[in-house]
Every structure is written in structure tokens, then in C-alpha cells.
Point group: C2
């Protein structure tokens, strides 16, 4: 009977579970050195400081003639100014050219302009007369010239530790001769489907069910910045569960099991994994519904997240525990990680059950004249239909029993592909006001 | 002199240029058959119709005892109901079990319940007495049972042609035995940096500049759903430009050149490519600033987009022409493709130049109590600094000369990684109201 009681849920809030994991685990951002070419989307683990001014010289912004602006003060259509072309800088190269009174030098875009020059007149604005050009208007100092350091000064912090690498960051790094950069490694997440009825082998699907939950979760892991490592499905066998989980932790940061974590006779994940000598129980059940069977232990200091197998519960555990941990490992914030839009709910929604829990409900978004509207898509936690129809979820805080039609609330999108999906449907993005 | 004039810009609006390309090119979405495992983020080229009801049987939602709800009407703590356990369904399998008056069968989660049963009582809510269970309360019809077709009915359209594939769509397809799906192919985009001063080879960078613009653009191509194919940098040589561009079009859908498209002596892209017999000029210059040198021809019916080389102009051409074409090829809308947020501008912004053009200005976002605020980051189009500081851009429509401090406007984010960047900084997403 003790055995029996030990299996029951003692629900913990997701925030508390996360706090316990972070306090007791060996989980922390890991700094690695990657090729700049591969750094898109990674989080910087170092400040990027500009080592050289950009541009390094005063350079021409257009193909044209480099002049001293002071020479041109009186130029006009009535009084055209002639300047002698004393040189050509046809390519971007180092040189020591100079100009004097009444002289000009042809320069191409991006080339260093001669000493003493401080402006460039684009080719299309001059008349070419043999060795001379004719200018019909004054030119201002700095016109079509970018002075040394005007773009980025030496010694500036360009990007901070914690910033996400974007395409333009990559160009900047390569342009300044930096080919490697320190970033936080993407956490490796092992995914293991659990259940006698499952197989990972399409050929073998005869009689068995293809294990697809770990496939679905692998995409969420990827979209939020982790590296998913899928394992073959494991039957409801304590020894095999232990073996595979421990094996998976050897080379991965987080282990996720899916299925076998509720209270039935075949639900062996918690009873098996929480009793290992190297195991530290973190949460047996979460105060979220669906997903309340989600349980967590640390094994040798690494989190093992046991997700329930019903699809809506699997996703709830993913949202509430797995995604925040993936963010944390990358040096990102762990709260409010989902893109969201503000929407008006179009039906009364009554949620009396699990009143001390956060309740997750999936909603379908549409638009009317005033903005997004959200329609709850109900159905029990095993149903995939609501997830296919929906665009995101709402969180109903503890103690709230009813959300009235017409209320405005935040709808969280499940993933970045979900945002793209929504965006492509409504051809515009409107978020919370 | 004709030569000279032919080179000059005749600006076309981006919308008109796109219309001409779509009308005259061979560009259209291409349907391919991919493994469902690889379909995330692709756009469906077929409706997904449910072929079988889900679930296919009436199934148990929890491990427990399958009963006929009508048997339990009078059960109470005072009057416990005993039912005889006449069978066990320990695994998810086909069977023909039946129950009669006063009988029950143990079932595991996901298993088909016996004929005549219409509810399941979870294990933790019964007392086990040898071959019998004792029930202390009535059970409602359908409790903890998912009836055949209750999740998804046969014959329903689950996802429409044009929908983006999400993680849950993949699970659905695999669960129903579909391992391949028709999607629109990702367009292949050739990228060619042009300029005597450039090299694609880090080793050779001595004296030459590493060609990095095509690297930056390759990430935008990727983020918006294209497949970037980078070519080695090409010098300012008509024959080499023609050779590489034509070569690149053999296996790719769109060719993008970067640099060499303005009016200088080394700007050979337009003069060279627009004169080929197989070339159809589309636009010599765009009514956008920066980016006004962006030019387009069709060669053998395929678009060649000539982007200017100054970084802000490169990005403007990418935003205005390339990204819409990548979207179009995938069967997605071609307008308003960028995620955006509503923000209050915190400085007067005066933009008198190119008054008949759309002007793009880059802005940095921050937050105050009321939401996002946008600060314009000015600097000429060759500067990368503003792009590193900024989070997105605003569009200033033709004829507008001034945007006053305090105005609310849409800020478009440059890419999905930019959205993640913003999101990680402000830990929340607020969009246009």
C-alpha cells in the first residue's frame, strides 16, 4: 500500500519545479567556439567589441570625383568650375594620392579618397571635358564621403553577451576578420517514447503503433534552440527504461521520456526512475492541466522530464518545463518564451476543474474588423484534432472559473512555425496592445 | 551618349516590378513530394483529408475499468457497486471482448474498450477485492472514453493547401500512416557577389575584401524559406558576369547579383545583362530609397535581381523584391511578409529626399511603460552600424516629408531571428494594436 501511495501525485507549480531544477542540477549555459558562418540564431557568450574603426579610411560612397568642398563654393551653371583630373582610383586599394587647388581625382565606390579631399561628386553630376571636369553647383563637406570611423568607431561594444546572432552580425564579424565567435551551445535533448504498444520502425508498424510523439516534440526542441536526439521506443519495462534513460544522459543535457508516467500498472517511469540511488526527485506531477502527470527527477544532476503521452499533455509539459530549460541552457530568459497575440475570446469558457492549477486551453484564431478573435477548441487531452485546428493556447490562472465572451487575453503561439502559419493566413501580424 | 543614357535609372515601384516579374516569368510554385519527416515549415500543396476516424474504436482515456454507465446509476459510498472483472486488456490491441450486466474489464490507456462498455473508471477510483471491484459513485456515459471519430471524423479537411506544416501536422500524418506529403518546393536562389575588389576565399583575403554580402543575404533567403546557393565572387568583367549568371540559372530559380549595378564605370551588371538577346528588362531602378539602384531582368524567363552593394541598399532590395518572390514560389502571399510591432517614434524624422519613393529607415526598438518606442538610426546606405543597432525598419510612403515625434507606426522586423532577438530582450511580444 505504501508502494501505491508513493505513486500518487504531489503537484508542484511549474515555476517551483523549474526553480528546483536550476538550483539542484548541473544545468548551465555552456560556452563554445563556433565558426561565424554557423552562428546564426546562437546566443553570444561574449561582448563583440569593435577593434577597428569602420571605415578605416575616408571613402567614396559613389563612383565620382573626389574634391575639396572649399574649392566648389562658387560653382554654378553660370559660373561652372573646372577641375583637373590628376588621377584615377579605379579599384579599392591603398594609395597616397593627394589633391591640390583646382584638382580632382576619379574614385570608385568604396575607395579611399585622396588626402585633402572631403567630398565626392557622383559621375552623373559632372561634365567630362578631356582632362577636366565641370561642376555646376557647390558641394558640401562630407557629401558622398564616409569618414573614418563614421560607421562604427573603434572600441565600441557592438553586440552584447546574451544577444542573438543575426545575419547582419555575421557580416560584421566576417568583415572585420573574425571567423570564430563564442556562443552558448545548443542543449542536447534526448527524446524517448515509452510503451509496449510502440515501435520506432515503420516496417514493423504491423500490430504496433508508430511512436510519433518524440518526432513532434523534436520539432519544438529544434524551434526553441535545442538539438533533439531521438531514441528508439522503449517498452514498459523498468530495466529497459533505466538503461535507455541512463544511456541517453551520457551524451545529452536533458532526457525526456514520453508516456508511462500516470498511475496505471504500466506507468513505470516515475516509480522506476525516482527510486534510483543517483536520482533526486523534483516534482511528481505539475499544477497544470492538461499535463498534470508531468514529473521530473535529476539523475546524476541532469534533468529527466517525464511527459505524459496524451498529446495535449505532452505539449503542456513541453511548454511548461522543457522549453524554459532549453532557453536557460542558451543563456536566454526562461519566462514568456512564446510569441503571442492579443485576442478577444468569442465564447464563454468555463473551467471548474483543477481550480488551483494553471489551465491550458487551445484556441483557434481568426480576425474580425477589430483584430484577432479566439475560439476555444475543446476536447480531451488525447485528442490531436484541437491541436491541428488551433493556433495557440491561453493560460487560465488558478482560481479563475470562467472567462467571459468579449474578454481580451493573450494567446501564446506554440512555436515559430505556428507564427509563420498564422502570419501567412492573415497576411499581417497584430499582437497584444 | 546613347550608351550613357541607357544606363540611367528609370525607377519602377516595387509592386509594379513584382507584377511584371510574375506576369512574364516562368516563376510559379513547384509541387514536390517530400518525406513527412522533412516537411516542417513547408507549405502544403494538397488538402489533407482525414481518411479514417480518430480514434478508430471507442478507447479508454485512462488505465481503469470499462463499465456500462447504466449499471452504476445507484452506486454510492453507502451502497457500493460490485462488478466482476471478467477480462484484462493489458495492451493496445484488437479484441472482441464484451461485458454483460455486473461485469467489467480492466483496460489500459489507449486500448479499445469492450463492446457495450461506455465509460472507464480510473484505477485510483475503485477498490480491488479479489475478482471484483467496488465503485462508490455513478459514472457518466462517455466518462474517460473517447468514442470512435470523436477526435477527427473521416472525410474532414484537416489542413488546407497553402497551410504551413507544423509539428502537430507531422504527428497527425504519421499517425494516420502517411509518410509522404505534397508541398511547394523551396525556391533555389543563386547569390553572386560582384566586384574586382572581392574574393570568396579567406586565405586570399590579402589585398582583397572578403565577399560577405552574399553570406548575409543567404540567411535572409533561408529564413524566408528559400535555399541559398552561394557562388564565388565575380570580378567586374562582362563576360564573367554573363557566364556566372547564366550558369547559375541552369539549376536555380532566381539569380541575385550583389554590387556593380549603379552608374559608375565598373557598374556592369545592368548594361551587360539587360542587353542579352534572351533578356527581358523588368526594372532599371526601384522607387525605394535606399535600394533605388535595384534592377531586374528576366533571362530565359527566370528573374535576375541585381542588388546594390551598399549594405542598407542590399537589404532594401532583398526586402522589396527577393523575399516576396521567395514567398510566391512557396505558394504564400507576397505582401506584408515581415513580422511587425507597433511603436511610438521618439524623434521627429524628416525625409525630404526621393519624395516620390518609399523610404526605408532603420529603427532601434526599446520599451517604455506604454509599449514599444522606436528611435531612427540614421547613416548612409553603406553603413553597417545602423543595421547592427536596429531591430527593424519603417516604411515612409511617398509624399510624406516628416514623421512627428509621438506618432505610432509599424516597425517591420527584418527576419525571424530578428524577432527572436527582440523577444529575448524584452521577454515579451507586443505587436501593433
Amino acid at each position: 500500500m505504501d508502494e501505491q501511495i508513493e505513486k500518487y501525485f504531489k503537484y508542484t507549480s511549474p515555476d517551483e519545479a523549474l526553480e528546483r531544477i536550476l538550483k539542484n542540477s548541473r544545468l548551465s549555459p555552456r560556452v563554445i567556439d563556433v565558426s561565424v558562418h554557423e552562428s546564426l540564431g546562437y546566443v553570444l557568450a561574449e561582448d563583440i567589441v569593435s577593434t577597428i574603426p569602420i571605415p578605416i579610411d575616408n571613402i567614396a560612397h559613389f563612383d565620382g570625383y573626389a574634391v575639396r568642398s572649399s574649392d566648389t563654393l562658387k560653382a554654378s551653371t553660370i559660373n561652372p568650375l573646372r577641375l583637373k583630373v590628376v588621377g584615377r582610383i579605379d579599384s579599392i586599394r591603398e594609395h597616397n594620392l593627394d589633391i591640390k587647388d583646382g584638382e580632382t581625382v576619379y574614385v570608385v565606390t568604396g575607395a579611399k579618397i585622396p588626402k585633402n579631399a572631403d567630398a565626392v561628386i557622383p559621375v552623373e553630376r559632372v561634365r567630362l571635358l578631356g582632362e577636366y571636369i565641370e561642376i555646376l553647383e557647390p558641394v558640401k563637406r562630407g557629401e558622398h564621403v564616409t569618414f573614418r570611423g563614421a560607421d562604427i568607431d573603434g572600441g565600441e561594444i557592438i553586440q552584447k553577451k546574451g544577444d542573438i546572432v543575426r545575419p547582419q552580425t555575421i557580416k560584421y564579424l566576417l568583415d572585420t576578420g573574425r571567423y570564430r565567435v563564442k556562443v552558448y551551445d545548443k542543449p542536447r535533448v534526448a527524446l524517448i517514447g515509452i510503451g509496449d504498444e510502440l515501435t520506432s520502425n515503420i516496417e514493423e508498424a504491423n500490430g504496433k503503433k508508430l511512436e510519433t510523439s518524440s518526432i513532434m516534440v523534436s520539432y519544438y526542441v529544434k524551434e526553441f534552440g535545442g538539438v533533439p536526439i531521438r531514441f528508439e521506443a522503449v517498452p514498459d519495462s523498468p530495466s529497459q527504461i533505466i538503461k535507455t534513460v541512463k544511456n541517453s544522459l551520457r551524451e545529452n543535457d536533458i532526457c525526456v521520456t514520453i508516456g508511462g508516467v500516470s498511475l496505471g500498472v504500466r506507468d513505470l517511469c516515475w516509480t522506476t526512475l525516482s527510486k534510483l540511488p543517483e536520482s533526486m526527485p523534483i516534482a511528481r506531477g505539475l499544477k497544470v492541466q492538461p499535463g498534470r502527470a508531468t514529473s521530473v527527477v535529476l539523475i546524476d544532476g541532469k534533468p529527466v522530464i517525464m511527459l505524459p503521452g496524451h498529446i495535449q499533455s505532452t505539449i503542456s509539459g513541453t511548454i511548461n518545463i522543457l522549453v524554459p530549460l532549453i532557453s536557460c541552457m542558451q543563456g536566454l530568459p526562461i519566462k514568456d518564451l512564446f510569441p503571442r497575440v492579443r485576442a478577444e475570446i468569442v465564447e464563454d469558457l468555463t473551467v471548474r476543474e483543477y481550480i488551483s492549477f494553471t489551465r491550458i486551453r487551445f484556441v483557434k484564431l481568426a480576425k474580425n474588423r477589430d483584430g484577432f478573435i479566439a475560439k476555444p477548441i475543446l476536447g480531451d487531452s488525447s485528442m490531436i484534432g484541437p491541436l491541428i485546428s488551433c493556433n495557440g493556447f491561453i493560460k487560465i490562472p488558478e482560481k479563475i472559473e470562467k472567462i467571459s465572451r468579449g474578454s481580451k487575453l493573450d494567446v501564446y503561439l506554440l512555436s515559430w512555425s505556428e507564427l509563420l502559419y498564422l502570419f501567412s493566413k492573415y497576411n499581417e501580424w497584430t499582437g497584444p496592445s
